[in-house]
Point group: C2
Chain length 223, copies 2
DNA sequence: TGTTAATTGTACGAACTGGTTCAATTGGTC
DNA sequence: GACCAATTGAACCAGTTCGTACAATTAACA
């Protein structure tokens, strides 16, 4: 009972006296959130474990306790990020819409998701710099992400049969176009601003680019 | 006579006897080439000065002699890279072509430039991760890169007057579309392969994507 | 009541890393 | 011949950075 610091609980070796709740999931989430911000901001090699630990409500000790090492932590962040976008994709129900509207909606949502989640975009950039070697090592990711392609295929086939879309397109090609047009504005925002003095983040620019993207995708498919 | 190193014709600290050609530009170029490869592969924080030095035909000493510090070296690499693409852009002479052909040619060349120079793409990614802060600090870059936009504007106006292109498009928007479609395949090649099992680098895939890109751009502009 | 997982804090160490110091020699140019 | 820029090579330093050791306490659950 030597320490009476009011709110500060302590454990052994001069730790704070104790009144804490056991909350493994909470601690994990807290670490992951901080780590994501750091990795997104500084990349894998640029991020510092000590810095992450400091911004956590717990300690470096717990990071290693739960995630093993820096790469394990990074992998966990990556997996969580991909789980999110997968959830987003599953939340779309485009089968009920007519083909053109379905594709326009998909393109619009995809554009918005990227614009609203620059963290996701930046983490994908970081991972690509590392040749996606951590995606490779993560069994969790993989089979999950073919859903978008299936979705596009279904819409495209429907539209083609109805004569709304032209023949001979590849669902993957359609997806790549939508992704590229959604990704680039966010991933290259800084260099675009620097080189062209054009800020894609500004509300007006973003809206115009959104409309242009949807329009371009529709024109790509139009018969 | 404090130096008593026996008879060896040496420089300070035990250097090799000397017969070398003075070639500042050569040394600079050598360092830059090695540094580019390292920064492209590992990013700014991931690259190691000692590693760069080791792969050079000269020593760490000369890196600091010519470039001051790591960031200075990185900036030099960046500037050289942008100088190259600017040269490429200036080499295009599209004013002689009819509008549709001119745009198709520009899109094709842009696509090829990105596909053939993944180093450029990756360095731009790295720079964007760093919020293009080094582009900002580099006076050399900036006013140079508006040439593409002017080029596109000229072609677009011509096509619009002739009735080949529709009204109301923004040259920057056209450029962003071409860039996005050219950049994404290269920048995200690793994650695309990992997630979709689709290798954009394969000759067939690349050619199909190239055709699709040109087609998409033409459709975007078509009246 | 006993057992295990969760948690607390710090200090430390070995390896790494950016950058400097030292001292001398040679190449080219005027 | 004088002078300066170019060049050589390795040791070294201070600060950083990942990861661990240590030692104890508490929460939760059976």
């Amino acid at each position: 009972m030597e320490e009476m610091t009011p709110a500060k609980p302590r454990g052994a070796g001069g730790r704070k006296a104790a009144s804490w709740t056991q909350d493994p999931e909470g601690v994990r989430r807290n670490i992951l959130a901080v780590a994501r911000a750091e990795f997104v901001e500084n990349g894998l090699s640029g991020a510092r474990v000590d810095e992450i630990a400091a911004k956590t409500s717990t300690s470096k000790r717990m990071i290693y306790y739960y995630f093993g090492d820096k790469e394990g932590l990074y992998r966990a962040v990556l997996e969580e990020m991909y789980a999110r976008i997968r959830n987003f994709e599953r939340s779309l129900d485009l089968a009920v819409l007519p083909p053109r509207e379905a594709i326009a909606t998909l393109a619009g949502f995809t554009f918005d998701y990227h614009a609203d989640n620059p963290d996701f975009v930046r983490l994908v950039m970081v991972e690509n710099i590392h040749h996606a070697r951590h995606l490779e090592n993560s069994a969790k990711i993989g089979e999950l992400n073919l859903s978008v392609i299936d979705m596009i295929r279904e819409i495209y086939e429907r539209g083609r049969r109805e004569g709304a879309f032209r023949e001979g397109l590849d669902p993957i090609d359609i997806h790549l176009t939508i992704s590229a047009l959604s990704f680039y504005n966010v991933s290259n925002r800084a260099s675009i601003r620097q080189v062209f003095g054009h800020d894609m983040g500004a509300p007006g620019a973003r809206e115009r680019r959104r409309a242009s993207t949807i329009d371009t995708v529709l024109r790509m498919l139009a018969s």
